[in-house]
Symmetry: C2
DNA sequence: CTGTTAGCGCATTCAG
DNA sequence: CTGAATGCGCTAACAG
């Protein structure tokens, strides 16, 4: 096969220099309308496409970005991804969507790979790395936005759902409903947002003089299946509970299923609250009371922040807090 | 800032030539154990990372792949994506996950962009392009796998869920249940698989001497909201229907909601059947009868096929058919 | 307005 | 076992 069509081919065919072709391709001026059109025609006729990797080698910009998420099949992250990609696409970027499958090792590997690919910028959602790992990973890149994770490092942008406040909101709602024995399935230990939500829960309890009971806080991987299993164990071990907060809606749905199996009625025997307000939340029976997080907007806003950083127009690095909103439905009226 | 660390830096520091460093980096032999270790140490100490774009320029391989889907937030595609990415990652590839948002123009743009990025291979899921567009888009790439779409072009691999058979299975199930007036919400007109499913539906009807009524086949975008709207309109216009086939589970869930609003009981007043068997299918009430499609496996198998193609080991281009399986649940017992 | 020169960071020859 | 030369396809800086 004849190999890729290069600028050289176009230049030869048009009987001009490489530079002239380059100028046409990049819409730079300093070229007569006539040559521009002639060259453009030849480009079209030959089907020439610029090699963005050759270009990247000289410009040091690849036009690609990285987006790292724990699990793209989780509706929360896939919606964040949509927001990111929509904006990125509008600005002419392509994005590597990288799934870490909730795995630390894999997150590290992905981050290294993105570095080798020389992405122009990076958004990391809900990193599962510990602080030290994240610090040094982030140090390799010069434009980074963290979503729902904090790290001490100048130059890193942060966009955070106010998880502690979210934890307070849902806890307060249950307290207002008269609940005093409230369990919490708090997500994976590595989840930063889980820790914050528990803090909010605890703060809210203590503000009402209800004592915090660590036995009522269990970890669970953030998926339906695991939520179901852990909820079953927890509810069996702690039959005194009258309400259950869940790390996210997926876990809450799992808890709903566990209740069905245990013959425990929601919300009469047990109130259940989720987090995120994914579309699924209104599709289950009973629909979930939850804390609404603007997933798509989180993605698009993170992307806007990243663009500012890439273009060097970043307005300082104060973390930006997004306020979640309590949504009351039948699972915890 | 001092700029990126290059091979040159390592070579200078180790007092060897570029080539020696290159050999160490790429694990080639023809190097003494001693130098290898010494160079490796310096690489680690300096934090050198090879530039995959520079490498790509000379090797003509980028280590990146493209995956094009209509909507990553659709659980069907996000699961396919997981399958693809899992295998890709294991083989050292990164993948551009590109959402077309069900938009033809955008799909074309994405495909062109992937060409400029010089991906080593490409998987296109459920393309919404017409045949001519797809043909010429595909012609630009040398390793392409189509999922759930057929195109006439040598060299293109195809992995297909047997949608016609799926259409037959679900239709037959309803016929067996005594239904004779069966509507079909068949998805977007651009959806190849929708057309096949309708064919199966029609074939199944006619094999039972039930006449095919085109008034009972309506299009609907493949999402819950739109499914709900179209279902409402259709059921209002055609109250004679006793069963409704849906393009996918999302549409079926929408139909379920429409029924709830219309005061129509499922399955007593109307049987509803979905397609895909996404996790959501068992979470709604009543759980959906549907046609199971192995989404994750579709992704991982497509990826394996793509790898074979990239490595030139492709075993011919017979489309590979995957058989869907009827799953009977309460929405259409 | 257009062309020439140089070099991005690396791997592939081919010599030592 | 190691190194020197060459070029991938393109753009930036300067010349004309």
């Amino acid at each position: 096969m004849p190999g890729r069509i290069t600028m050289m081919d176009v230049a030869r065919e048009a009987d001009v220099s490489l530079m002239t072709v380059s100028r046409v391709v990049n819409n730079k001026d300093g070229i007569s309308q006539a040559t521009r059109e002639r060259v453009q025609d030849i480009i079209n006729r030959l089907g020439y496409r610029p090699s963005s990797i050759a270009r990247g080698l000289v410009t040091n910009r690849t036009g690609t970005l990285g987006l790292v998420v724990p699990d793209n099949a989780n509706p929360f992250f896939s919606e964040v991804a949509r927001g990111v990609e929509h904006v990125a696409y509008a600005e002419g970027y392509n994005v590597f969507l990288c799934n870490t499958e909730e795995d630390r090792e894999r997150e590290l590997a992905v981050l290294q790979s993105l570095e080798e690919k020389q992405v122009d910028g990076l958004i990391i959602c809900s990193s599962r790395l510990d602080d030290a790992e994240l610090q040094s990973a982030v140090a390799q890149h010069d434009a980074v936005i963290l979503v729902n994770r904090v790290v001490e490092r100048p130059g890193v942008g942060m966009l955070l759902n106010d998880d502690e406040q979210g934890g307070r909101l849902i806890t307060q709602h249950l307290l207002d409903g008269g609940h005093r024995k409230i369990g919490f399935l708090s997500g994976p230990p590595s989840a930063f947002s889980g820790r914050l939500r528990v803090q909010g829960y605890r703060a809210s309890l203590e503000a009402t003089n209800v004592s915090y009971n660590p036995d009522w806080v269990w970890h669970s991987p953030p998926m339906v299946e695991t939520g179901k299993q852990v909820a079953r164990d927890m509810l069996t071990a702690h039959q005194e509970l009258t309400a259950l907060l869940c790390y996210n809606d997926l876990v809450a749905v799992g808890a709903l299923q566990a209740c069905a199996e245990l013959g425990c009625k929601v919300p009469d025997d047990l109130a259940i609250v989720g987090f995120d307000d994914i579309p699924l939340a209104v599709l289950v029976t009973p629909p979930l009371t939850t804390c609404h997080v603007p997933r798509y907007d989180l993605g698009s806003q993170a992307m806007h922040m990243l663009l500012e950083k890439i273009e060097g127009a970043s307005q300082g690095d104060e973390p930006i807090l997004v306020q979640p909103k309590l949504v009351v439905r039948a699972s915890a009226p």
